[in-house]
Symmetry: C2
Subunit: 224 residues, 2 copies
């Protein structure tokens, strides 16, 4: 009984969210802003990836960041310390960002002075993937210490992603992690996805990621 | 608007769940079964901790496991391979186990032949902590590669836990992880919690964890 009720509520909430997300995505594109949503488990490296990406792209694009957390402003503080405009969403217990929350945060930003907006979603490999935020690009990060079985257990995330960053490859030496198994497991779920091994510590793969993202940003901006 | 609506729905669902959880907890205790709920991010080591724990306790207690996943039976298969009775919950997109799901799984188990029931919750540092499963003991696992800032960002988990296992201490050498900072950050949230550093790979801390858990199981079983 209780289960059925929750499912029905979820379906109507998810449907309403998809409509709002579609409107937000068009509005951002019309303003010349490309939104990039980063999703992962807690501690997979979203903040580090964003900081490395901004360092590589800030000469070319005008960038801001939306940071979403259940609580705390730890990550927004890091962005502001790096000289990047940042808005914090405190979700107050919510385990994901939806289009309404993204919209509320975006109202705090001067869209006409921006090219790229990163959304660092809540650390969650499940609920974030189920809620369209209105982003143009969806990035999933899987870190090596989490294990190579994650696409089997959390398929929705790997279906929702345009690109999967396999992060912390510097842990590969001491972790039991089979990247070919990951590639095969993701291919079953999503044939269009790009998979990029990266280490923020060693710098491995950062250039490939920047090249992929720049092409995608240019493509979205050119199609508006 | 949408946010307010969701919050109200959540409150009534959470309230109803607490009532069901309380009934289930009493029913299990009356049957002489202690339920232990393990929660963490994806890939923090719940399955490994359970397998090590069963190896240490199976001579003393009759044990079964409930495995919960969005999809796949990877973990239940590991339990059955280890000779442990296991029931799989496929949550079908749900990001946590609630009391109704636990109850449904428990109906598949012969309670009168069991002493201890482990519930391996969905890999999620947020939603799992918000939903009482009916367990007598709540275990949070934080793995070293996730970083020492997690109690700041995911406070509800560390408030809900009776014990926090800091797992994968064998990664400590290459991770930037300050366990004293973790202890301080958790102490602010929960003064009653025990914090136990563990490595399933090296065996560090396993004996302390087994001693803590055995005392807790004996205490719950003695109070019924």
């Amino acid at each position: 009984m209780a289960e059925t009720r929750i499912v029905r509520i979820r379906e109507s909430v998810l449907r309403e969210n998809r409509v709002q997300a579609s409107i937000l995505r068009k509005r951002l594109a019309a303003s010349g802003v490309v939104m990039v949503n980063l999703m992962s488990s807690p501690g997979s490296g979203k903040t580090s990836i964003i900081l490395h990406t901004i360092a590589a792209l800030r000469e070319r694009f005008r960038i801001a960041v939306i940071e979403a957390d259940i609580d705390s402003t730890v990550d927004a503080d890091k962005m502001i310390a790096a000289g990047v405009p940042a808005v914090q969403i405190e979700t107050g217990g919510f385990c994901h960002v939806d289009a309404a929350m993204a919209q509320a945060a975006i109202q705090e930003l001067p869209l006409n002075t921006l090219d790229v907006l990163f959304l660092e979603n809540v650390g969650n490999l499940i609920c974030t993937a189920q809620h369209d935020t209105g982003a143009h690009v969806n990035v999933a990060i899987l870190s090596v210490p989490e294990g190579d079985d994650k696409p089997l257990k959390y398929p929705v995330m790997f279906q929702a992603a345009d690109v999967v960053i396999v992060n912390k490859t510097d842990y590969m030496a001491i972790a039991e992690f089979d990247i070919n198994a990951v590639r095969q497991r993701i291919a079953v779920l999503n044939q269009a996805v790009t998979i990029l091994p990266v280490s923020c510590r060693s710098g491995e793969g950062i250039a490939d990621w920047i090249e992929w993202l720049t092409a995608r940003i240019t493509s979205v901006a050119g199609n508006r």
